[in-house]
């Protein structure tokens, strides 16, 4: 059995015939060839595969692509716009918040969602937000610092523009 699924991915409408059992992470990586999203533990523990569905961060290894039919999906590729990095990406760059980079796409999508909801999170709030995102080499200190960097620079930009 294949079924047709249509959804918006990073602002573009996509439509494909897939097996119902295809997980969103594989749909994104293999069907759409958006390999920025990483496929990690497969058990909704590590958080490397986090994408946003209708704005909410979710673990794409534990959701069927079919369940996203009619919804809006955003992957890590959506962060950079016209060559301009998102402040959260710049924060990870500035504060050396990635070493091997495997967890980075999930970390970026999870913390971008945090900042959209809470533009000035405390270190504790950042740690709670990424408690479902596992980093095995960089360490969390620089990641928390990167999110704070992004929060501070977004606030400064908003003040300038305001």
């Amino acid at each position: 059995m294949t079924i047709n699924v249509s959804m918006t991915v990073n602002g573009a409408q996509v439509s494909h015939d897939i097996e119902p059992r295809m997980l969103l992470v594989h749909f994104v990586r293999e069907t759409l060839e958006l390999t920025g999203t990483h496929w990690g533990c497969d058990t909704s523990n590590c958080g490397a595969c986090v994408v946003r569905i209708d704005g909410q961060p979710v673990k794409s290894c534990t959701i069927l692509a079919a369940m996203c039919d009619g919804h809006e999906v955003a992957t890590v590729e959506s962060l950079e716009v016209e060559g301009q990095l998102d402040p959260i990406q710049m924060g990870f760059h500035e504060r050396h918040a990635l070493q091997c980079g495997f967890c980075t796409p999930g970390m970026l999508m999870t913390t971008r969602a945090l900042l959209d909801e809470n533009p000035d999170p405390t270190d504790h709030e950042i740690r709670v937000a990424i408690s479902g995102a596992i980093c095995r080499c960089t360490g969390y200190k620089n990641i928390v610092s990167a999110v704070r960097w992004a929060a501070e620079h977004e606030a400064a930009t908003a003040n300038r523009e305001g």
């Binding site: 909704s44 673990k59 069927l64 369940m67």
Partner: protein
């Protein structure tokens, strides 16, 4: 690579439509809500449904409201909404206690109360929360609705009273005066399943405990409803000695297994200590004396 075995998929557009699909498809069909328990089970071939009926579009099952002296929670209400509900926290603060430590924030965006309860995993927190709060659940089939207590709902490990062509649609929590509740959990690391967890609720009456609810997670094949400790508490004035006695009963009445999370005696000890702590906090909340 973990991928579920092949199945057929359809989306329900109404509760009755979902029930009609389940009836038509037979016993190898399953409802999928958040999918954060069912999909991992399917990847491991612990569950092999031939058909999935997706109920994520049934937003009419996503609500937390006060009605007819009860807090009523729709089965599709997600963990994140249970965590954030001030109405729920006001009447049953043990939900917020539990939701703060159930999985992680990203998982909580998907998982639902109905899915958690129907999974009936003994290590799952909300089953104990609902048992302690004296909840009942509404189960609907083509023949109508029935209301079942949590004791009647939990049939066995991973088994509930929900029939093959039925859907759990609502959780009901009777609101009684002078109540307080708390959930205490010990886990190895953030987001993990409990080593042990205890839910407690008390309803005060003239300075004594009029009624109490106590249930344990992760220390038996099913959620453990500690009725013996509830009986002990009824009609007595709250005290640390009384709670210690209730904790001792909880230690005795659970049946944990030794595993990577700890040996049996440690888990029994935890069950007792957490019961005591949950009772102390539940009572403080009932008396508006929480530190």
């Amino acid at each position: 690579m973990q991928t579920p075995a092949a199945f057929e998929y359809e989306r329900a557009t109404s509760v009755d439509g979902a029930i009609a699909s389940l009836e038509r498809l037979g016993s190898e069909a399953r409802v999928i809500a958040g999918g954060h328990s069912l999909l991992p089970m399917m990847k491991l071939r612990l569950a092999n449904p031939e058909h999935l009926v997706d109920i994520n579009d049934l937003t009419e099952l996503s609500y937390i409201r006060e009605q007819e002296g009860e807090i009523r929670i729709g089965a599709m209400t997600r963990h994140v909404d249970l965590l954030r509900s001030d109405l729920l926290a006001q009447h049953f603060p043990l939900f917020r206690d539990a939701e703060t430590v159930i999985a992680d924030p990203v998982v909580r965006n998907r998982g639902t109360i109905g899915g958690s309860l129907c999974q009936a995993d003994a290590a799952e927190d909300l089953s104990a929360v609902c048992a302690a709060a004296k909840a009942s659940v509404v189960i609907r089939g083509s023949g109508g609705e029935r209301v079942v207590s949590m004791d009647g709902f939990h049939v066995g490990p991973f088994t509930t009273a929900v029939g093959a062509a039925e859907i759990l649609i609502e959780v009901r929590l009777p609101v009684r005066p002078d109540g307080g509740s708390a959930h205490e959990k010990v886990e190895r690391r953030a987001g993990d399943w409990a080593i042990a967890a205890a839910s407690a609720a008390v309803w005060m009456q003239d300075g004594t405990i009029g009624d109490a609810g106590i249930a344990l997670s992760a220390v038996g094949l099913t959620t453990i409803h500690v009725t013996r400790a509830e009986e002990l508490l009824r009609g007595k004035a709250p005290s640390d000695e009384l709670f210690a006695e209730a904790g001792a009963i909880a230690s005795e009445d659970c049946s944990p297994a030794s595993d990577g999370r700890g040996p049996i005696d440690y888990k029994r000890h935890l069950a007792g200590v957490l019961t005591q702590r949950a009772l102390r906090r539940a009572t403080a909340r009932a008396l508006h004396q929480e530190a």
